[in-house]
Amino acid sequence: MTGSRIVGRLMVGSVLTLAAGAVLLGDHSWNGYHWARSSNPFTLTVVDSVTSEWDAYLNEAIADWTASSVLDLTRVAGKTGSRDRYLCSSIRGRVRVCNYPYGDTGWLGIARIWVNGVHITKAITAVNDTYFSTATYNTAPWRRLVMCQEVGHDFGLDHQDEIFDNVNLGSCMDYTSDPDGPPSNEHPNLHDYEQLETIYAHTDGKSATANGSAAGGSAPSAADEDDFVDPPAQWGRLVRSIAGGRVQVYERDLGGPNRVVTRVVWVQ
């Protein structure tokens, strides 16, 4: 075998290895959704509406994701009243993070993004204390994993893997039944950072983030807010909100000429 053939085979082997690696790692962009911005790294404000038992985990997640070369997160204090955390109203250009006992919803944490085309305009993360008050999930590894993963969704990341009982990938974007492994799934891994670099490799010439620095977005206003939690379905749609939202009137259409009007007085 000549030297050139050996080199040729080695090169083919390397290409195959790279291809296999790419297949193994895969792409975990959330269908291309991303924040519009005019330059990298871009700054995104995270509104902290979690209670003290979650602060350390949110701060860790912020530090973890800020380690990305394309993203800087800044934390600002948000309202933490019971109703504020329950509703977890979104704020244009920002990420809001809340905790509340949302009930037996089937999820430990959920991320919601509002979009205009492929551009994320605002996002929230909610973690469910109904489960985190149980012995199974009231652990540092579970809290760390879920906070890291849901905040990661808010930037446009999907899961790396959705099989719970296989070997951990060492990423909080990997589903698992054993968060601390080993390897631990409590933090992002290199592939998450690479995926963010891929998602944000281009710039959009405009910004959807509400920050003063790289983004230059407009300040958020109350009119930009949407509640994460919908009112109970049986109440119907909100038709009036007075006294700063403390009194709300809902209407439910029963068909024909009939409707149910529900007046709610919220007590903090």
Binding site: L108, A111, V115, V261, V264, V267
Partner: protein
């Protein structure tokens, strides 16, 4: 609990167009088709209800299902809000 502090008065009244379908809107089936493209799992449950997101009339499509090895009591949920007039996606929520 918050709900215990909520005073609810319900009245049955007459004549309202609240929550009625718009004159032209995409069908429930079309909305579900749009939402299905956003999930990677096979849902056990698919539900679509009319609602509003801000001022936008939406189909709120919920898709739920279990994933391999998922711990008991947990399931995957994706909620997609779709503008009823245009068919464009307004918001997405995922676990």
């Amino acid at each position: 609990m918050l709900r215990s502090g909520v005073l609810v008065l319900a009245l049955v009244a007459a004549a309202s167009c609240a929550g009625r379908p718009a004159a032209t809107e995409i069908s429930r089936e079309h909305a579900i088709d749009i939402a299905r493209k956003e999930v990677s799992f096979t849902p056990d449950r698919v539900e679509a209800v009319r609602g509003t997101s801000g001022m936008t009339p939406v189909w709120r499509v919920t898709l739920a299902g279990r994933l391999p090895g998922q711990p008991p009591g947990l399931f995957e949920t994706v909620v997609v809000e779709i503008d009823r007039r245009t068919g464009s996606i307004v918001s997405l929520a995922r676990t």
